[in-house]
Subunit: 164 residues, 2 copies
């Protein structure tokens, strides 16, 4: 299956909201994310499901993907909050894969978690050397029958600059 | 400095030329590579230098980058031939960096070497888990003052499908 990790778009500056979880996307963040979403759709991409961090800047990003017809299923997922653990959503994913086929899944979240998760999936350890910009995307191919950690392939890493 | 690894475009089928080194790009390979080159230029990219495997399919790819004004310097480089060793061109690179500044370098070559080299630069070992399609690009940021193997950042991995 293919797993896409998508970082939220450009949001209000940290510190400008009492509750950091409520920082929304700024206008430029919305428009760039919309461009990214349209481009993904024009390539023919469709996600069986989008799971998103419940934080405002992430969930708004996920809603933009939904509005661009990249999926008809979007759910908030607590494990994708900043500092979330890969084991939490991997556990969910393995159960889901055992019960239903899942060809394309998108996770919308935050740095450095997304980069760390990509590194764990591909190389099995975190090195902080995968750079994901805002509204940037990572594409991974997860193996079907062996452990996904350390055995997934990396086929895409791009930021809006290189994409739209 | 930024290092771009670029795989040659779609070439004539293996076995159709007595000497495999002479397989040229096919028409589709030329046009897709031209589109990739134009997009790279439109983003504002410029290479101080392009080094290319001397094999026809690679050198043609490099010439397309040159024609798109991505650089004014192109040289064949034997170490970029299939099976070439990273230490050979890294040695050249370190000497060059000691003598002159080099901000942007593009290497045009072959798989699986390019993917292996990217993995060695980022993680210090080869896992065959970075997928580079024909006319695909890898973007790496090499550190200035420490060993580049195992310490470089990965900021771009894309194929024409996701790029043009």
């Amino acid at each position: 299956m293919e797993l896409y990790l998508i970082r939220h778009g450009i949001a209000a500056v940290r510190g400008t909201y009492t509750n950091d979880d409520e920082r929304p996307l700024v206008t430029k963040g919305i428009s760039k994310t919309q461009e990214v979403a349209r481009k993904l759709r024009s390539i023919g991409l469709e996600f069986d499901l989008i799971l998103s961090s419940p934080l405002v800047r992430a969930f708004q990003t996920a809603e933009i993907l939904l509005e661009a017809d990249l999926s008809s299923n979007l759910e908030p997922f607590t494990s994708l909050k900043p500092g979330g653990k890969i084991q939490e959503w991997l556990h969910w994913l393995q159960e889901r894969r055992n019960n239903n086929s899942l060809n394309n899944l998108a996770l919308v979240g935050h740095q450095p978690d997304l980069g760390n998760w990509a590194e764990m999936l591909v190389w099995g350890s975190i090195r902080n050397q995968i750079i994901i910009k805002k509204a940037g995307i990572v594409g991974l191919r997860l193996p079907d029958s062996i452990e996904v950690l350390g055995n997934s392939d990396l086929f895409l890493l791009t930021s809006p600059k290189w994409f739209i």
